[in-house]
C-alpha cells in the first residue's frame, strides 16, 4: 500500500479567488489517473502544483515519501516529468532537440549528446508513431504533432511519475487512441501517470482512477465506471447526458440528451 504520490489537502489561491480547495489524491505505481472537469475547474493548476511550478498556499504534496519542497530541481526531474501547457514559441528547434532536452536529468554536465540519449529520443518518438518528425522544425508542425513531440520529451525523462496536461488535445481519433494505449502500457510496466482530459470516454476506457474537479473542489473520485454516472456528468458539466457502455465495441458513450439553446441577443452579431 505504498503511494508514490500523495496530494494532501492542497489549497491554491490566485489573488482573492480560490482555484483549488482541499484537493486530495493518492496514487500507486501502475495507476493511470484521469483528472476531468469543465474548463476553469483547476485541472491544470493541480498538475502545476505537482510539477512544482506553483506552490500551494497550504497542504502538502509528497512524492516517494518526501515533501516535494525538499527536492532540488535536479532530483525532482528524475522523479516527476510534466508536459505543461503553453510551450514557448518563437525560436527554431528541431523536434529531436526538444525531446533530447528530456534527457537532461540523466546527463547533467555532458556537452554533446551520447548514443544512449539519442536512442532514448528515437524510441520515445517511435512508440508515439512520430519518428518521421525527428528532423523537422518544431515550429512548422501542426498542433497535434507538437503535442506528440512534447509528450515524447516527457517520456524521455524516464521518470516514475508522469504528469500530462491534455496529452490528446488537437489529436485526431486514431492518434488519441494511440497515445492512450501507450500510456496504459507504460502504467502496466509500473509508471504512475496523471492526465487531464476533456474526453470522458477515454477516462472510462483507459484509466484506473478518476478525479472530477468542479470549481477547484474534488466532487467525486474513485474507479471511473463507478464515479462517472449520467447524473454526475450532467451536474458538473451542465449538460444533460447519458453515459452508456456499448457492448459490441466495448467502448463507453457519452450522449448529450438535448441540444443547447443560444443565450443572449444573437442579432447583435449579424
Amino acid at each position: 500500500m505504498v503511494f508514490n504520490l500523495v496530494v494532501d489537502g492542497i489549497n491554491v489561491e490566485f489573488g482573492s479567488s480560490r482555484v483549488l480547495e482541499n484537493v486530495e489524491i493518492a496514487l500507486r505505481s501502475g495507476e493511470v489517473l484521469a483528472i476531468i472537469g469543465p474548463n476553469g475547474s483547476g485541472k491544470t493548476t493541480l498538475l502545476k502544483c505537482i510539477s512544482k511550478a506553483i506552490t500551494p498556499k497550504s497542504g502538502e504534496i509528497i512524492v516517494y515519501g518526501r515533501p516535494i519542497g525538499e527536492y532540488s530541481n535536479s532530483e525532482y526531474s528524475k522523479r516527476v516529468s510534466a508536459m505543461l501547457p503553453q510551450w514557448p514559441s518563437g525560436f527554431s528547434m528541431k523536434s529531436y532537440e526538444i525531446v533530447l532536452m528530456g534527457c537532461r536529468n540523466q546527463t547533467k554536465g555532458i556537452w554533446w549528446e551520447g548514443d544512449r540519449e539519442l536512442q532514448i529520443v528515437s524510441t520515445a518518438l517511435e512508440i508515439l508513431n512520430a519518428i518521421d518528425l525527428y528532423d523537422k522544425d518544431f515550429e512548422t508542425l501542426s498542433s497535434g504533432e507538437q503535442r506528440k513531440v512534447l509528450l515524447a520529451k516527457s517520456l524521455a525523462q524516464r521518470t516514475g511519475i508522469i504528469l500530462l496536461d491534455e496529452p490528446v488535445a488537437y489529436l485526431d481519433m486514431k492518434h488519441k487512441l494511440e497515445v492512450m494505449t501507450v500510456l496504459r502500457a507504460l502504467a502496466d510496466m509500473g509508471k504512475t501517470i496523471l492526465v487531464t482530459l476533456h474526453e470522458i470516454d477515454l477516462a472510462l476506457k483507459y484509466c484506473d482512477k478518476v478525479v472530477i474537479l468542479s470549481h477547484g473542489r474534488v466532487v467525486a473520485a474513485g474507479k471511473p465506471k463507478q464515479v462517472i454516472t449520467s447524473e454526475l456528468v450532467s451536474k458538473v458539466y451542465g449538460v444533460e447526458v447519458a453515459v452508456k457502455w456499448d457492448e459490441e465495441t466495448d467502448y463507453p458513450l457519452i450522449l448529450p440528451k438535448k441540444g443547447q439553446a443560444v443565450k443572449g441577443e444573437l442579432s447583435c452579431l449579424i
Binding site: 535536479s74 514557448p88 528547434m93 532536452m101 554533446w112 549528446e113
Partner: protein, 338 residues
C-alpha cells in the same frame, strides 16, 4: 543515429577552423597596416629576431599586437555575451548593453574624467564599477517587478535612461573635458597595452569558460524558467550566473576600450543564420565572428585610405552593423527569432 553526434562535433570543429583562419589573416593584416606600412615578412622578423629594426619592433610588439589582440578579445567577449543575453532575455534584439550596463559604465568613466587629480587608471576602474552597479540595480528592480524577461528588459531601459541623464549632467558641467568623455564613449583601441590585455583576460576568461560550459543548459533556459526547472535545471541560479558572467566579461572590456555597439547584437545572429539556434554552436562561433568583425572594424579605423585618422570604432561597427541588421530584419521578418 550514431553519425549525428560525430557530425555535430565535426561541423563545429570545421566552422571554428575556418573562422580561425579568417581571424588569423585579419590579425596579420591588421599588424601590417597603419601609418607605417609593413610587409608580413617585416612583422614576422620583428617578432622572432630581437636584433631587427628597433623602431619596427616597438611598433609591432609594443603597439600593434596588443591592440589587435585586445580588439579580438573584446569582439569575442561581445559575441559570446550577446548570444547569452539574447537567450537569457529571450529577445533577439537584446545585446550586452541592454542591462543598463553601458550607460552605467559611461557614467562611471565620465565621473572619473571630470574629477580633478584622478589617476589615468581611474577611468577603467570607475567604468567597471559604474557598469556593474547599474547591472545589479537592474537585476534588483526586475526581481522586485517579478515579470520575467520582459520585466528585466524594461528595468534595464529605466536604469539605462537614468544613468544617461546623469551622464548628460556630468558632461554639461565639464565643458572643457567633454571631448575626452565623448571620445571614450565612441570606443577606441588606440591606447591598448599588454597590461590592459592581461587584466581583461584574467577577468573575462573564467566568465567565457563558464558561459561556454553551460551552453547546453542555456538551450533549455530558452524555454523559460518554468520549463527549464521542470527539466532539472536550477534555472534562477543559472540565469543569474550567466548574466553576471556575461556582464563581468563585457564590462571589463568596455572599461578599457569604451562602448562599442552592435557587435554583440549582430555576431550571434550571423551565426544563427547558418547553424541554427543551438548555443553550443552560437556561443563559440559568435565569439569568433565577433572577434573577426572587431578586427576588421579596427583595420578600417587605422587604414591609411581612411581619410579621418582614428575614427571612433563604435561608429564603424554601427555603420557596418546597422545595415546588416536591417537586412536581417527585413529578410527574415517573422522568423527573426532566437
Amino acid at each position: 543515429m550514431n553519425h549525428r553526434k560525430k557530425d555535430k562535433r565535426l561541423r563545429l570543429a570545421l566552422y571554428i577552423t575556418t573562422l580561425s583562419i579568417f581571424l588569423s589573416a585579419a590579425i596579420i593584416t591588421s599588424i601590417t597596416i597603419g601609418s607605417l606600412q609593413l610587409s608580413p615578412y617585416a612583422v614576422f622578423e620583428s617578432i622572432i629576431n630581437p636584433r631587427s629594426d628597433a623602431v619596427t619592433r616597438s611598433i609591432v610588439l609594443g603597439y600593434r599586437i596588443p591592440r589587435v589582440l585586445f580588439a579580438s578579445l573584446t569582439g569575442f567577449v561581445l559575441g559570446v555575451s550577446g548570444g547569452v543575453i539574447q537567450t537569457l532575455t529571450r529577445n533577439p534584439l537584446s545585446d550586452p548593453y541592454i542591462t543598463g550596463m553601458s550607460s552605467g559604465a559611461a557614467l562611471g568613466a565620465a565621473v572619473a574624467f571630470v574629477t580633478p587629480r584622478f589617476p589615468y587608471f581611474a577611468v577603467p576602474a570607475m567604468a567597471f564599477i559604474g557598469g556593474l552597479s547599474m547591472l545589479l540595480l537592474t537585476i534588483f528592480i526586475s526581481k522586485k517587478a517579478g515579470a520575467g524577461s520582459m520585466g528585466f528588459i524594461l528595468a534595464g531601459i529605466a536604469v539605462g535612461t537614468f544613468a544617461s541623464a546623469l551622464l548628460m549632467l556630468v558632461i554639461s558641467i565639464s565643458s572643457e573635458k567633454a571631448h575626452g568623455i565623448l571620445y571614450w564613449l565612441f570606443g577606441s583601441f588606440s591606447t591598448s597595452t599588454w597590461r590592459d590585455l592581461q587584466i581583461v583576460l584574467a577577468v573575462s576568461l573564467p566568465a567565457l569558460l563558464f558561459m561556454l560550459y553551460n551552453a547546453r543548459d542555456l538551450n533549455i533556459l530558452l524555454l523559460g524558467e518554468e520549463h527549464a526547472a521542470q527539466l532539472g535545471i536550477d534555472s534562477k541560479r543559472l540565469w543569474l550566473l550567466m548574466l553576471l558572467s556575461s556582464s563581468l566579461a563585457v564590462s571589463s572590456c568596455v572599461s578599457f576600450c569604451g562602448i562599442i555597439g552592435f557587435i554583440g547584437l549582430v555576431a550571434p545572429h550571423m551565426v544563427r543564420l547558418i547553424v541554427g539556434s543551438d548555443n553550443r554552436f552560437v556561443l563559440p562561433l559568435g565569439g569568433f565572428t565577433g572577434a573577426l568583425l572587431m578586427v576588421i572594424a579596427d583595420d578600417i579605423v587605422r587604414s591609411p585610405i581612411n581619410p579621418i585618422a582614428e575614427t571612433p570604432i563604435g561608429s564603424v561597427t554601427s555603420m557596418i552593423g546597422v545595415p546588416f541588421f536591417v537586412y536581417l530584419l527585413i529578410k527574415r521578418g517573422k522568423s527573426f527569432g532566437i
